[in-house]
Each structure stands twice: as structure tokens, then as C-alpha cells.
């Protein structure tokens, strides 16, 4: 307890110190911008320097301007003029008779909720990703339904103000709605810090940070299920701070995170002081233009639920996780949309205190995914993991996947999975997945 207080206080003090600096700097910028805007109105076409301000003011109208220019070009070439764009005047409604005379409003009233209403400009980017899963074969230990829609992800993303942006990811499952992630990001804090506050997937390794729709399999590896909190993984309400470590050789980023201490079935907090911590160090280096290496080391610690008796945490037991990960990527730039390879491995060590003693378990996966053509991907994965609560029991698995992308916005995947469970049961399964994406174009994961 004593040992963990110092770094926590340091981090919080750092965050508090940083806040007023960035806020005041931004305000000054905004005030200066406003002054320039007034100047631009008075001497509109005068000087080169003011052109930038005009540019900013016209930003909202620039699409229409360009359309007019394009039409003008067409007219110049003597081609038929396309139908004119609909009038930009805001739609209005009639004031109900009698209202004007009774002290009510007079003249035309603006209609709210119109498609072109300016207020909608500030609506966040919205996207929905559907995830449909099918399973065939026999699995006595961990049976999945034949057909299910386990998770549809709704994302809402927008810029909050000049200092922050916000991202929400809501998971609509068969049993209800869950906040998968929801956080605010401060990208421009002084000292090169990048801070996130909210519910965040912990920066433990690679797979734990990835949403379901970007992992190259229909399931998560065995080691995730056995040691790193299952499908939900390590995800909790907390604060994350990341900084780049300047050095002349490679990209190096250190991340420190503090969470409440409740994360699926891995961490459980029974007191306010039962916080959980995650630290992550990520290195990246371009070996060549088309090949690169991404590697990391992670640490996570929190209290577990094994010591809870009648709602009282009598045992005060903790779980420590240590992980290393490495990813090798190859993608030739000239044929980048046709061929690529990603090889990845993560090893996780878990040290779990529990009433019958300490369990030291470990697990890993090793995977390779190759892009055969513009729409086809294939991959293999080897799994082996002890179980966190009983390190003498271990499961192993092998998977082969084949994925087809009709377009950038949908994908169809088949996976053959063989799992040898510690119980002595072997499961051979065929898993199917159909994913589809509507709405805003999100960034491609890297």
C-alpha cells in the first residue's frame, strides 16, 4: 500500500499542474483569433495576411463554392448545366394564426431538426459495426450458441473543444448495453503528454487494447480468456497518461494507467484504496520501408475477488500480470493493398494470490496472418495457457482462419479451431463471422 502511493500521487500532481497551463494557452489563442476575424470583415480583400482568416470563415461554405466552380467549368466547356443546388435558405414555418396578436412571436419561425440545420454540424461521427457469429461442432467445456449476435459496437466520436476530443464505444450485446470504452483525450498537454480519462481498455499488451472487430480471429486467444480477464479483458474507469521517450534510435512510448480496480473477473475492488495499475512500454522501429517491428512490455496489478467472504475482503489477495509482446509487419508499399503479413506473439505471466496459496500461471499465443490478395486473408494461431486459478491445468489450441472482404466495410470469416482442454476434452469447431460497418469511416488500426 505505502509503496504504491508515491507514484500515484506523482502522476496526479503532474496532471493537475499540466491542466491550467494548457487551458490558458488555448484561451489566449482563441482571443487572438477573434480579434483577427473582426479585422478581416473590415478590410476583406486587402492584404495577403488576412486571406487565411477569410479561408477559415469560408470553410463551411467551401464545398458549395467548389461545386459552383466545377459547374462553371462545365458551362465554359459548353456542356449542359446540371440542376442547380437547392436553395440554402433555412426552412421556416408559419406562425399559428392568433399567436402574433397574443404577444406570441411574429413572422416566420425557424424549423428545428431540419437535415441541413447548422447545429447538426457538431454531431459526433457515428458508426455501427455489426458482429454476427456462428458455431458448429462440439465443445463441452466452453460451448457457444449456434448463432448469435454477441456484440454490435456503436461508436460516437467528436472533438470536444480546442483542448480535447471524446470517443464512446457502446457494445450492444444479447443481454444489454455496455460501455466498452468511453473517454476524453487531451492530445496537446505540455511536456508531450497524452492523457485519457474515462473507461479505457488497459494498455496491457496488444490484444487487450483491440476491439473485437479489428482482431484477425473470430475469438480471442486462450491466454486472454484464462489470464487476462476474458472477452472484456482489463478495462476499467481510470486515468491514462502516455509520453514519448525521446531517443535517437527508435519510437519509444511509456504509458501509466490508474484504474478503480474492477475489471471483469480479474480485478475486484472492495475498498476505495484498492486501485489497479497498468504500465506499458512500447517500442517501434522501421526495419525497412515495408518491414517493421513493434514490441512491448506490460505490467498490471490489482486486487482479486478470491479473498472475499460474505461481502468482506478478508484475504486482501492481489493478482500481478506481466506480459511481453512482439509484432512483425511486412507490407510492400507498391502493392500495399494486395499483400501483407503480420506475425504476432504475446506471453503473459500471472501471479495470483488466493486462499489455497499462490498460483504462478503463464500462457502465450503465436499467430501469423498473410494477405493473399486484395480481398483474401489467411492465418494460423497456436495457443497455450495455464489457468489463473489452477496453474497445473492448461489448455492448448490451434486455429486456421480464412477471411474475405467484399469491401472495406464488410468481412466474412471462417475459423477452424481445435482446443485441448485441461479436463481431457478435445473440441473441434468451425466458427463463422460476418462483420459489417455503417456510418462514418473510421481509421484503420495499426
Amino acid at each position: 500500500m505505502e509503496t504504491s502511493r508515491l507514484p500515484r500521487m506523482l502522476l496526479m500532481a503532474g496532471a493537475l499542474l499540466a491542466w491550467p497551463v494548457v487551458a490558458s494557452a488555448g484561451q489566449a489563442e482563441q482571443a487572438a483569433g477573434f480579434g483577427q476575424q473582426i479585422g478581416a470583415e473590415s478590410q476583406a480583400l486587402a492584404a495577403q495576411a488576412i486571406r487565411q482568416e477569410i479561408e477559415r470563415m469560408r470553410q463551411d461554405f467551401v464545398a458549395r463554392l467548389a461545386a459552383l466552380e466545377a459547374r462553371l467549368a462545365l458551362i465554359d466547356r459548353g456542356q449542359a448545366t446540371p440542376a442547380p443546388a437547392p436553395s440554402a435558405a433555412p426552412p421556416t414555418a408559419e406562425v399559428p394564426p392568433g399567436a402574433a396578436g397574443a404577444g406570441g412571436p411574429s413572422g416566420a419561425l425557424p424549423v428545428y431538426g431540419n437535415v441541413s440545420a447548422a447545429s447538426k454540424i457538431f454531431n459526433p461521427d457515428v458508426a455501427v459495426i455489426g458482429n454476427f457469429l456462428g458455431a458448429a461442432g462440439r465443445n463441452a467445456v466452453n460451448p457457444a450458441p449456434a448463432l448469435q449476435m454477441p456484440e454490435s459496437e456503436l461508436s460516437l466520436q467528436a472533438i470536444v473543444d480546442p483542448y480535447a476530443r471524446a470517443d464512446f464505444f457502446l457494445a450492444f450485446g444479447e443481454e444489454g448495453v455496455d460501455l466498452e470504452e468511453g473517454f476524453i483525450t487531451f492530445p496537446t498537454l505540455p511536456g508531450g503528454l497524452l492523457a485519457k480519462v474515462g473507461k479505457i481498455r488497459a494498455a496491457f499488451g496488444k490484444v487487450n487494447t483491440l476491439h473485437r472487430h479489428v482482431i484477425p480471429w473470430t475469438d480471442r486467444p486462450l491466454v486472454t480468456g484464462n489470464l487476462v480477464g476474458g472477452e472484456e479483458g482489463v478495462a476499467d474507469a481510470g486515468v491514462s497518461v502516455a509520453r514519448l521517450i525521446p531517443n535517437p534510435w527508435i519510437f519509444l512510448e511509456a504509458t501509466g494507467q490508474i484504474f478503480r480496480g474492477d475489471s471483469g473477473d480479474i480485478f475486484a475492488s472492495s475498498r476505495r484504496s484498492d486501485l489497479s495499475y497498468t504500465g506499458h512500454m512500447r517500442g517501434y522501429h522501421d526495419l525497412t520501408e515495408s518491414t517493421n517491428l513493434d514490441f512491448g512490455a506490460s505490467f498490471s496489478r490489482g486486487h482479486n475477488a478470491s479473498g472475499v467472504v460474505d461481502g468482506e475482503d478478508a484475504g486482501r489477495f492481489t493478482t500481478d500480470l506481466v506480459g511481453v509482446d512482439a509484432t512483425l509487419r511486412w507490407r510492400p508499399l507498391r502493392r500495399s493493398i494486395y499483400h501483407s503479413f503480420v506475425g504476432r506473439s504475446e506471453i503473459v505471466w500471472s501471479r495470483r494470490e488466493q486462499p489455497d496459496g499462490r498460483q504462478d500461471a503463464r500462457g502465450f499465443y503465436l499467430s501469423g496472418d498473410y494477405q493473399l490478395g486484395r480481398r483474401w486473408f489467411t492465418g494460423v494461431r497456436f495457443d497455450r495457457s495455464d489457468r489463473a486459478e489452477d496453474a497445473s491445468a492448461h489448455d492448448t489450441g490451434q486455429s486456421i482462419t480464412l477471411t474475405y472482404w467484399p469491401s472495406e466495410f464488410s468481412q466474412l470469416r471462417g475459423q477452424f479451431r481445435r482446443t485441448d482442454y485441461a479436463e481431457g476434452v478435445t473440441a473441434n469447431e468451425l466458427l463463422f463471422q460476418l462483420q459489417f460497418n455503417i456510418g462514418a469511416h473510421g481509421a484503420h488500426p495499426f
Binding site: T3, P7, R8, L10, L11, G14, E29, Q48, A49, R51, Q52, E55, R58, Q59, V62, A63, A66, A67, E69, A70, P82, P162, R165, T185, P187, T188, P190, G191, G192, L194, V241, R243, L244, I245, P246, F251, G256, G279, R282, Y284, E289, N292, D294, F299, D320, R329, L333, R334, R335, S336, I337, Y338, R374, R375, F409, I438, H441, A443, H444, F446
Partner: protein
């Protein structure tokens, strides 16, 4: 417990104790998303700025990977010039967000969307859906392939540079005038070279060349892709071959990052010539700057026209 203390303290020290690096008022660092913008920036900034770009001219600019090494480049940038019109939507936002650089965030002074004043074609009218493929709702982003837009981009960059370094304003102004004059001269030459073939019908792979074909008087009658971003399908390829035969189209323009299998098959079916153009500066070794971009492409097209005897 000891190990935890060590790791946690180390992390905290790395995060908090590192001092702010002092920034000297040296050459401004200009980052651009593509090599075309970098080339124009170099023309305007001369030796008073440092320029680097993210995407290479021979890769598909829609599908650049958001590599962390680009974060380091953006971290040091004083000005970021982007193509805009959602060309970079798949990879630039996370890079900017992780750059920790307040100067180049969208809306900040060091962020320049080069498309704002340029002539943009193919802005969809009416309803837009993805049934049309990967359409850009804000218009076709390949607008740099028109020298007239090149001049507009140069003006915008010069304006930004003068804002960043007011003392060098006259230097940048003089260079933009010089660049515009040279480009005007070259444009006359290019137009004269291709003038005899005005109205020539061509097919392109992706909708990468509308500004180019409009400026230089070529008529695009079809695309190898059935819809933007959708790979060729057999039925569409057959239709295209029929249409090309009907209209006697002898030129297929292809970007260097697309597979040549389908274009070659269409070429065999129609007797048309497949011409791999440089859609960007750096598209091949022979295109080191913005002037060479047009020169290379126009020479290739004219040579192909002469060989095929296209009309």
C-alpha cells in the same frame, strides 16, 4: 512489492520528470501528407524551410499505414499540409492525435488543408450512399493533378509560411511568383503537346485523374473499377471491353499501385495500350518534382497515342 515499486516509480519519473525541450526559432519543419504537396512546399520555402512527407508517391494514398515513426515526424512539425477531402481519413487522424503537437491539430495555425481554395471535381449531388462504393462526400481528392490547382496550393502554403516566419514573407512571395510564372510557361508547353489529341477517349483504373483529364482535354469514358474502391469484377470488365470496342478507346491509364492483371486483359481484349502513369510526385524515379509529374505523364500518354494510332 519491491518490483512494483521499481516499475511504478520508473514510469512516473519518465512521465513527469522529463523537461520540456526548448525550441529554437530555426527553419520551420513542414510535414505534408503526400510528395506532391512536399514538392510545392519546397518550391515556395526554398532553403528557409525543412520539408518531409508521409506517403510515398508510389503507394495508394488512401491506404497508408499509421506507423508510429510518422508520429515522431509529426511531433516536430511546425506546419502540416494535408490533401483533405477525406483522402487521409483512414490514417491521419490517429497520427495527429498521438503527435502531442498542439501546433498542427485541425483548426490550429499550423494545420493547412490544401483543398480549401482548389477546384474540386465530382462533388456528389443528392444522396450519397456506400452502394456507390468508397465515395468521397466532399469531392474527388486527386485535385493536385491540375497545374492550376498547383498554383492555388502554392499560394496557400506561401500564406501559411509567411504567417510562421513574417520576416521571410518577401522571400516566400517572390518564390511563389517565380513558381507561378514557371508553371504558366510549362502549362502552355504541356497544353500544346497534347492539344492535337483533344477529346481523346480513355479509361482509367480508379477515379484518380479527373482534374488531369479535364485540364488536358481527355475524355474518360469508363473505369476498370466497377465503383470507387471496389476491385474489378468479371461482368464489369466484359461490359467495359464492349464499351471500349464500341467507342474505339485505345488508352488505359493505371496508377502504379494497382495490379496490372485486369488492365492487361482489357488491353488484350481491345487492343488498347496500358499506360502506368505517375499520379504523384515520387510515383517513379523519373518524377522527382511537381513539374516532372506533368511532363512525365503527358509524354507517356502522347507516346502511347502515337504507338496505337488512337483517335
Amino acid at each position: 512489492m519491491k518490483r512494483l515499486e521499481l516499475i511504478a516509480t520508473l514510469t512516473a519519473v519518465l512521465l513527469v520528470a522529463a523537461a520540456l525541450p526548448a525550441r529554437a526559432q530555426g527553419k520551420p519543419n513542414v510535414m505534408t501528407t503526400t510528395e506532391d504537396l512536399a514538392s510545392i512546399a519546397r518550391e515556395i520555402g526554398g532553403d528557409r524551410i525543412a520539408v518531409d512527407s508521409i506517403a510515398r508517391g508510389y503507394q495508394d494514398p488512401h491506404f497508408v499505414e499509421a506507423k508510429p515513426s510518422f508520429i515522431l515526424k509529426l511531433q516536430r512539425a511546425d506546419l502540416l499540409v494535408v490533401v483533405g477531402r477525406e483522402l487521409e481519413i483512414g490514417w491521419l487522424p490517429p497520427l495527429i492525435q498521438q503527435s502531442r503537437n498542439a501546433r498542427i491539430q485541425p483548426g490550429a495555425n499550423g494545420y493547412l488543408d490544401a483543398s480549401l481554395q482548389a477546384t474540386i471535381l465530382e462533388i456528389p449531388q443528392g444522396q450519397v450512399t456506400r452502394a456507390m462504393g468508397d465515395v468521397h462526400p466532399q469531392g474527388n481528392p486527386h485535385y493536385w493533378l491540375d497545374p492550376v490547382n498547383g498554383k492555388i496550393i502554392a499560394q496557400a502554403i506561401a500564406g501559411k509560411l509567411s504567417q510562421l516566419r513574417p520576416n521571410d514573407k518577401s522571400y516566400f512571395d517572390q518564390r511563389v511568383t517565380d513558381f507561378t510564372n514557371r508553371l504558366n510557361e510549362a502549362e502552355k508547353r504541356w497544353l500544346a503537346t497534347i492539344a492535337p489529341y483533344k477529346g481523346l477517349k480513355v479509361v482509367t483504373y480508379h477515379r484518380s485523374f479527373p482534374n488531369f483529364t479535364e485540364r488536358f482535354g481527355l475524355d474518360v469514358i469508363g473505369y476498370v473499377e466497377p465503383r470507387p474502391g471496389i476491385p474489378p469484377s468479371p461482368s464489369h470488365t466484359l461490359e467495359l471491353i464492349q464499351e471500349m470496342k464500341r467507342q474505339n478507346v485505345k488508352i488505359i491509364l493505371v496508377e502504379p499501385y494497382f495490379d496490372l492483371k485486369t488492365p492487361n486483359a482489357i488491353g488484350r481484349g481491345t487492343g488498347a495500350r496500358v499506360v502506368v502513369l505517375a499520379p504523384s510526385v515520387g510515383g517513379t524515379k523519373d518524377v522527382p518534382d511537381y513539374f516532372k509529374l506533368f511532363e512525365y505523364d503527358i509524354n507517356l500518354i502522347v507516346a502511347a497515342i502515337r504507338e496505337t494510332g488512337a483517335k
